[in-house]
C-alpha cells in the first residue's frame, strides 16, 4: 500500500534542473533505497519529502508529493507540520551539543506529546522520561546509555551518535523516517548495527534511505530506485534491480562500470 505518492516532481536550484519529472510511489512499512552516482539528485529527492529543500534559497519545487492522502506542497500546508510527522537522519551524526537526554527530549518538549484524540499537550517530566526511554530502546541504544543520560551526546562514539539521532527522530513519533546516507561516516561494525536497526524499524515505520553503498541497498531494502542526473531511471523490487535490471544505465552502475 503506498504511503507516499510522488507525481511529476521537478526541482530547480536556480539554473540547475536537479530533479526531472520524477513519479513514483513508496510503500508503507517497507524500506525504499535510493541509489545513484554523486550529483544524481538522491539527496535532493529525499529532502523534498520533508520539505527540507525549502531552506535553500533559490530552490523551486514543482509537482506533488502526497503523504497519507494530502499534498505536502499544497499552498496552505505549513512545512513545520510536515516535519513533525516525518523524521530525518543525516549523513554525519549531528546530535545537539547537549546531554543525551536533552537530545531525545527536544522534539517532544517543543511539540508536546500527541494524545489519543490526536491533539498534543505539554509533556510532563514523567512522560518525557518515558518517551526518551522508549525512543532510545527503539533505537537500540538504551542499554549503552541508560546510566549516563546527563552526559554530553559528544561523549558517544560515531555509531552511537547516529543511533542517538535515530532515537531523536523516533521521539517525534513519525510514520516515515528518511535516512540520508546514514552510514557514510561510520565504520563497518557501526554500519551493521544501523542496518539491523533499519530492518527492525520497518515493522512500524516506512523507511526511505539514500545510500552510496550498493551492498547496503541490496541488504536492507525492499525496493530500490536508481537515479541518474536528476532522472529516475529504474524503480522496482530490490532483487530484480540488482539481478535483472531492465535498463542499461542501471546495469552499468550496479556492476561498477560507472559512478
Amino acid at each position: 500500500m503506498p504511503i507516499i505518492e510522488i507525481k511529476d516532481l521537478n526541482v530547480h536550484f536556480g539554473e540547475n534542473h536537479a530533479l526531472k519529472n520524477v513519479t513514483m510511489s513508496l510503500d508503507k512499512n517497507q524500506i525504499t533505497a535510493i541509489i545513484g552516482p554523486s550529483g544524481c539528485g538522491k539527496s535532493t529527492y529525499i529532502r523534498c519529502i520533508n520539505r527540507m529543500n525549502d531552506l535553500i534559497p533559490g530552490c523551486k519545487v514543482e509537482g506533488e508529493i502526497v503523504v497519507d492522502g494530502s499534498n505536502i506542497y499544497a499552498k496552505d500546508v505549513d512545512p513545520v507540520d510536515i516535519r513533525k510527522k516525518i523524521g530525518m537522519v543525516f549523513q554525519k551524526p549531528n546530535p545537539f551539543p547537549k546531554s543525551i537526554f536533552e537530545n531525545v527530549a527536544y522534539a517532544p518538549k517543543i511539540h508536546g506529546l500527541v494524545q489519543k484524540d490526536g491533539k498534543s499537550k505539554k509533556a510532563t517530566k514523567n512522560e518525557l522520561e518515558e518517551t526518551v526511554e522508549w525512543s532510545l530502546r527503539r533505537a537500540a541504544l538504551w542499554e549503552e546509555v541508560k546510566d549516563r543520560l546527563g552526559k554530553s551526546a559528544y561523549t558517544l562514539s560515531g555509531g552511537q551518535q547516529q543511533r542517538l539521532c535515530i532515537a531523536r527522530a523516533l521521539a517525534i513519533k513519525p510514520e516515515i523516517i528518511l535516512f540520508d546516507e546514514p552510514c557514510s561516516a561510520l565504520d563497518p561494525i557501526a554500519t551493521a548495527k544501523i542496518e539491523d536497526l533499519l530492518i527492525d524499524l520497518k515493522k512500524d515505520y516506512t523507511v526511505v534511505i539514500v545510500t552510496h553503498n550498493m551492498q547496503q541497498a541490496a541488504r536492507v531494502s525492499d525496493k530500490t530506485a536508481y537515479f541518474y542526473i536528476g532522472e529516475l531511471i529504474e524503480y522496482g523490487i530490490t532483487e530484480q534491480i540488482f539481478e535483472k535490471p531492465t535498463k542499461e544505465l542501471t546495469e552499468k552502475y550496479i556492476t561498477g562500470r560507472m559512478g
Binding site: 527540507m52 534559497p57 523524521g87 549531528n94 545537539f96 527536544y106 522534539a107 517543543i110 539521532c165 527522530a169
Partner: protein
C-alpha cells in the same frame, strides 16, 4: 643563503616583530600604571573634580566622570546588544545567502569603518537637535550604540556562522520553527563568540571621546539623575586634563583616570573570558 638560514632569518624577524608588540603594550601599560597608581585613593574615587585656585579642575577626584562612563556603558549595553544581536541573527538566518542579505551586510561592514566623529556629527544633528533629545546622556548613549552596532553585528554574524549548519538542519528536521531553532540552538551555541563582540563594543563605547563631546558631555556636570541630563565621562575628563595649563597636577589626574578606564575594560574582558569559557564548556561540538 640556504634554506635553513633563510628560515632562521625570517624566524628572527618575526621574533623581533612580536617583541615590539609586547614591548609597546608593556611600556604603555607600565607607564600609565606607574604614573597613575599614585593618584588612586578613596578621595579619588569618591569626590567630584574640583577647581584649584586657577580654576582648573585638577583637585578632588573622578567620581562624576567614572559614574558617567559606567552609565554610558550600561545604556549602550541595553540599547546595542538586543538590536545588534537580533538584527544580525535576523539578517543571517532569514536573509542569509540572498542578494538583499549580501547588500545589507556590505552596508554593515562599511558602517563599521565610519570614523567616530562622523557618528558624533550624526548624533548632534539628528538626535540632539532634529529629534530634540537635547545635549544629554541618552543622546550620547544612542550615538555610541549606533557606533558599536556594526561591531556587535559582525561579531554575532561570525559566531552564528560558526555553528555548523548540520545542527540547524537537525533542529528544522525535528519540526522546530526557525525562531525555535534560533532560540534553542543557534543563539546558545554562539554565545561565547557573541560575548566577545559585545565586550569589545562596550569597551570601545566607554573609551570614545569624539561622539560624546558633540552629544552631551559637559565639564563638571553633576551625576545624571535622568536620561535627559548632561554628564561627565572619563575619556573627556582625560582630554580636559591634557588641555590644562597646570600640567604637573593635571597629567597626574589624567594618568589616574586612564588607569581607571583601562581597569574597567580589563575587568569587562575578564568577565567575558570567564563567561565565554563556561559557555564553550557547555556547548562543544
Amino acid at each position: 643563503m640556504n634554506r635553513r638560514n633563510r628560515e632562521a632569518m625570517f624566524f628572527n624577524l618575526f621574533r623581533v616583530c612580536a617583541l615590539i608588540v609586547v614591548l609597546a603594550l608593556v611600556v604603555i601599560l607600565g607607564y600609565v600604571l606607574i604614573n597613575g597608581i599614585g593618584k588612586w585613593s578613596i578621595d579619588f574615587f569618591t569626590q567630584d573634580p574640583r577647581p584649584n585656585v586657577h580654576g582648573a579642575l585638577v583637585e578632588g577626584g573622578i567620581l562624576g566622570p567614572l559614574v558617567g562612563t559606567i552609565y554610558l556603558m550600561l545604556l549602550v549595553m541595553v540599547i546595542a546588544i538586543p538590536v545588534g544581536v537580533l538584527g544580525s541573527v535576523f539578517l543571517q538566518e532569514y536573509f542569509g545567502g540572498t542578494r538583499i542579505g549580501r547588500i545589507w551586510w556590505m552596508v554593515v561592514n562599511n558602517l563599521a569603518g565610519v570614523p567616530s566623529i562622523v557618528w558624533g556629527l550624526l548624533g548632534v544633528a539628528l538626535l540632539v537637535y532634529y529629534l530634540n533629545f537635547g545635549l544629554s546622556l541618552i543622546a550620547a548613549a544612542v550615538t555610541l550604540s549606533l557606533l558599536v552596532l556594526p561591531l556587535i553585528m559582525v561579531a554575532t554574524k561570525e559566531a552564528v556562522e560558526a555553528v555548523p549548519s548540520s545542527l540547524r538542519e537537525a533542529s528544522i528536521a525535528l519540526g522546530a520553527t526557525k525562531w525555535q531553532t534560533v532560540r534553542h540552538h543557534i543563539l546558545p551555541y554562539s554565545t561565547s563568540g557573541i560575548l566577545t563582540g559585545i565586550i569589545l563594543s562596550i569597551s570601545r563605547a566607554g573609551g570614545e571621546t569624539a561622539p560624546i563631546l558633540l552629544t552631551g558631555v559637559a565639564v563638571n556636570a553633576s551625576i545624571p539623575g535622568a536620561l535627559g541630563d548632561q554628564f561627565q565621562a572619563l575619556p573627556y575628563y582625560i582630554y580636559l586634563m591634557t588641555q590644562t595649563t597646570d600640567r604637573t597636577q593635571a597629567y597626574a589626574m589624567a594618568y589616574g583616570a586612564s588607569l581607571v578606564l583601562i581597569a574597567l575594560i580589563v575587568g569587562l574582558n575578564l568577565v567575558a573570558i570567564i563567561m565565554r569559557n563556561r559557555y564553550r564548556e557547555k556547548y562543544r561540538w
